[in-house]
Point group: C2
Chain length 168, copies 2
């Protein structure tokens, strides 16, 4: 239902949400998310342009969330890549329809509304905390993990953004 | 949420559902749906390849639904263009996740499931009959309308696929 780019963006945001105060390098993020580095770099640019993440160059640099994970919803990330648009008026431009949608477009709009409602209510705090799920995102991708990353099963050894210190 | 191609495909199917026994030419369909003819021709090829419509060349030819409108769901049309895929196992290939999805992918899968459930339950009979909606799809697109097209407000004059009789 969502594009590969959207799914990659959500992976990256999930990864950053584990340690929101600690910048993570593109290289580390690529390892954590298992997204090709070049592709991920473009995804991160989209997220930065949307104001969802902040990049910092230099030693200890990398990307971090622009706000608390509790304040960023999945919907914001989905919309940053490809906005989910409601249907406000007849897409055919039929004058007598106007904002009174036909049975087809009303149902299409209903689907969009339900997805907006669903993902507008899920924050990245929900994602990294989980709600009864036995698994957390990215939780078996090796040792190259953001610092402070913890799971129910115990602490993960810190590995703060160590590579590519000259780029975010 | 859905592509322009998907929305066009749904328009075409709605148009054909008004008169499922009567072939409608591509030209007439383009007029009814307000979709550019060349674009629509490609959309119709997709629908024909998926077995949702049947084309007939020659005099009185055109496209018609392959089954009753009551037997074709919106989901089938959506999937013919771009399938909505459930997430059956960890997209990152994390072994310890397997089919036990993490909190991120479980929620993405939940959204897909809800959309599949929604549109899998709506047929084109529902669309052309409407359920309390004041408007029907394509119901003010001029006189070039499939034969037998009727609305709550009364009958529409028949205008069976009259053009381009040498192509569907």
């Amino acid at each position: 239902m969502f594009s590969q780019t959207t799914e990659y963006a959500l992976r990256a945001m999930s990864c950053l949400a584990y340690a929101p105060e600690s910048p993570v390098s593109t290289t580390d993020l690529a390892t954590q998310t298992r997204v090709p580095s070049n592709y991920l770099a473009k995804v991160l640019q989209i997220l930065a342009s949307a104001g969802l993440i902040v990049g910092r160059r230099g030693v200890g640099g990398g990307y971090r969330l622009s706000r608390s994970p509790a304040e960023i919803t999945m919907l914001e990330v989905i919309n940053a890549v490809t906005p989910i648009e409601r249907i406000g008026q007849c897409p055919l431009g039929i004058k007598s329809h106007g904002t009174s949608l036909c049975s087809l477009h009303r149902r299409l709009d209903g689907g969009a509304a339900s997805i907006i409602d669903l993902y507008g209510g899920i924050t990245f705090e929900d994602i990294v905390r989980g709600q009864g799920e036995p698994r957390r995102p990215l939780c078996d991708t090796g040792e190259r993990r953001p610092s402070g990353l913890t799971f129910d099963g115990g602490s993960i050894s810190p590995d703060a953004a160590a590579d590519n210190r000259n780029q975010p």
